[in-house]
Symmetry: D2
Subunit: 312 residues, 4 copies
């Protein structure tokens, strides 16, 4: 995440600025503005702007003229009620805008969330940075044996070394060839006057999927929490989960009541199917239910036992 | 648009508040915050919050670290370019939230624009205000003879008087019966202890479509401009157009460059079909084209002549 | 739900038509096409068209060239897995289009679901039907004492009779005045040559919220199920729930595996918060948890006890 | 676009199937079902399913019980009116689903259109095909000198050969390393028992952006036409434009009236800004307007002259 001097200067200037506003402000979030939070080896998340706070959720739920109640405790209770009963529209009244630097293969997962506004750095228009994601050794996992889309044990020894070498060399070589085909450097200076250079929109196809891109990404609090519930989840791929975790910390600073309700009623919550609920009732009534007597498939039985913290 | 004393006090308090922020602020819009702009006889539009400014459009188009350029003129040029070539995503990076009071039949048109966040006052939960829209006499138009969904001449004399009387009496009577069925007043006080009172979610069905409702409505600048291009248009129904016009003034204060580009390239622009363009070329080449030689239907020919400011 | 002779003739003709197609077809749903299912006193739901079936969900989840597997059992298992783990995109690959006749106050709730395509009958363009929803006596409920947006006991005796009389008379009178203001009948015949008649877009404001409107409503299976999970829920207002229930029967005929998975993992499922789950674990471990020792609010405790089928 | 024998067999079987339906069918589109249209060197577009036809647009615009009118000519006129006046909702009533094979860098542009349903082949779950897009020599263009995101002259001689060699070798080498890291072939057979193999979700990052992916993509006719108006446009990148052109031919077979109206009022239409329209009026009045007297920037003047087919 090496910012150029010019970029660093712009951020420093923005951080120093102070304006007067009548809008709701959140000091804890203001303190984080314009400060990139490092993610992975070259990526970051930084908050560029925001609108609203916990009070805006309350205000909107009541369609009131004021901002939340005097009694902060009532606000908290209402927010928890709204979250528990999935009243989503009041949470749509807060908005946040991030600037994110991320590997292309992560961007491709991320963009599947459609209810957001996005402006991505254009490789048709500009030259891409020479930066690629190379996993840390402890992230170099084998394919999971049990889960078709998960990770297993960490690779060791010669195989791990060889994988890292290939990832590094292929990304670097492909970038060098990209630059050669462009016939210009990152600043746009022509390299070899005797050549034409390939159009940027074509040359980019030689880059690898771990090349870094960046974008502005803006969404409302409800859709952000939905995104985070999927991407901060243990089943999400590690490389997107670390972004989600950084964003969760930002949410906690921004709207602490909403964050707390989200942690209790979403992230920490479990859903029991009709069949699972019936089994829990039987167990509470003292029955010794087994997989065989449960009516559940082995897979679902294992999931239920995990949920209840019991040996399958 | 009679606010209660409590509502007025809340707005006055919000207006007096001053916070410090590092975010982009727009003084001209700050001055309008928390001040309802009257629309129709009892409605209003007021800005509750906003995010971003013209600089945010520029910043996003460039996916840059800074905020627009030092040269305001370059920003204006870029914004005009983006608007002309329908690059919509940078305009999605600004967000605005309104509190609107409006007749239900207007709300039903408005809600058709789906790319917005809405929180409406709930008539399942609360008692509706005793306010209805009654058109001003000069708005009491006959059905247009030429346009199946437009207005013609203004009604006159006895017919106009009778229409106004009916609108007034029916709305008032239906509200009174609504209140009687609820068996509670607006403050929730039971009226007749011997009766149960009808559920609010049922009693509301007796209200007329000119009853006023209110909502928080939040959207991004691109979708707002799309909404305004349809609803501030001369073909839009007058009762929604006046809301769009009030919102256009707010846009002008908020993002003056974007507003100017919108006025030039959208509101004031015309679209010529392939056939119309061919006719304009023939006319510019000196040919005296008539409807008969144009190949256009009479209707399209009339539309083209109007566009070009010529007699059909 | 009195269809005119012309409407009935069109439906009969459509029902009789047989076309040949290579697309997936669902005989059980074909049998329901063009047959309005009555809902409330004058409303209906009817399927106009559909695309895809359970096999399309499977095909899309596998991004395969074929249609589902030969082994229907494998398809069922995959669909249940997708539903359980909230993989929503395969369910978006099926689409359905309904024609619905419904009271305006129901339409106003319904339209809040934004991820759908809608074409509503235009009261700017056409004259509305003379039909209003009047609740059946057993639906004439008082406001709930415990739930701000629910219903309590059914009204009895004189109060019930008076409410029904007011609803009937006000709707009829307002419609008659609407027709008088229009100065035309439903077929568009002018009534009184000496008057101009009020524009349709204005006259409609005199109608009551229980007047019937109609629309085409089209959405994908995932968003339809989300809609149904909210509107077929016991907390939804009765007048929209009966539409949701009619649509659920259609879903069952259309995509039986998806329907079954939805019934098990959504409609019949419960969500336990982090705190609730911890309490269930304590109870399973034999601890006698009470509201006081639970750490839950009284309200949440009551909700948990209801979920578990225990006395609070 | 080499389909395996198994894939070809599945398509042949699907093509041979005939079902009976009461739904609207379009024989010209039925004939295209399950037949991949080749695009680029290894890509394709094929229609998987569809819903509705031109009659469904008319039916919906009228919210009628029947299907279009008997008079096909009236349907055509109404569809042209709807397109000209941007009444978009009736066009949302038709739906189509494609199966598309396309290079990843094209998929990244395509996915920016958010109003669609997508199911992409998962590289977390499955092994990617060994297929990459290599431009045909006549598509190997230099960067445009005048347009920051366009193409200029075609590369020649040694530079062209070298570019093609690099693209070919880098893609192939990176794929081979991807396969080595996976330690399994496309059929999932382990290659070297002594190694663990890297997780698929990690190994994919070594692929190049011209690797082919595939997805199911489903959208409604209105949003499809919007997508096509941008991507079949001369300013769109060639590699996505060829997909759009293949899809346009499908639209023409599917909804011929809508297609014709789209060609006339969108693809072949031009938009004149308020300033441009004023200039056209001056020219029609006989004035010899020049860039200097036009008030337009040089760039906009050039655009106007091109539109009017005049020398700048």
């Amino acid at each position: 995440m090496a910012l150029t001097q010019a970029q660093q200067a712009e951020l420093t200037e923005a951080q120093a600025a102070r304006h007067e506003t009548r809008r709701a402000t959140v000091p804890a979030l203001e303190a984080m503005l314009f400060t990139p939070i490092p993610v992975l080896d070259h990526g970051f998340v930084r908050v560029v702007d925001y609108m609203g706070d916990d009070g805006a959720v309350v205000q909107s739920a009541r369609v009131s003229y004021g901002r939340g109640t005097k009694a902060a405790n009532e606000d908290r209770g209402l927010i928890r009620y709204l979250m528990r009963h999935r009243h989503s529209t009041p949470f749509e009244m807060c908005e946040i805008k991030y600037h994110v630097k991320l590997p292309i293969f992560v961007a491709r997962q991320w963009i599947r969330h459609r209810t957001a506004n996005v402006n991505e750095y254009s490789a048709r228009y500009s030259v891409m940075d020479r930066e690629f994601y190379i996993p840390a050794p402890e992230q170099l996992a084998a394919q999971s044996a049990s889960n078709r889309q998960g990770r297993g044990d960490v690779l060791q020894g010669a195989e791990a070394e060889e994988v890292l070498r290939l990832l590094r060399e292929d990304a670097a070589r492909n970038y060098d060839h990209y630059a050669w085909m462009l016939n210009e450097d990152e600043a746009g200076n022509v390299q070899d006057e005797s050549r034409s250079g390939l159009a940027r929109e074509l040359a980019r196809m030689n880059l690898t999927l771990n090349a870094y891109t960046q974008w502005y990404w803006k969404t409302d609090l409800h859709n952000l929490l939905h995104f985070l519930s999927l991407r901060a989840d243990a089943h999400a791929q590690y490389e997107i989960r670390v972004y989600a975790e950084a964003m969760l910390k930002i949410v906690q600073a921004w709207v602490p009541h909403s964050y707390e309700a989200f942690a209790d009623y979403r992230m920490g919550a479990v859903t029991l199917s009709a069949q699972m609920l019936a089994i829990v009732k039987r167990m509470l009534a003292g029955e010794g239910v087994t997989q065989e007597t449960s009516g559940l498939s082995k897979r679902e039985w294992r999931e239920l036992m995990e949920t209840l913290g019991r040996a399958a």
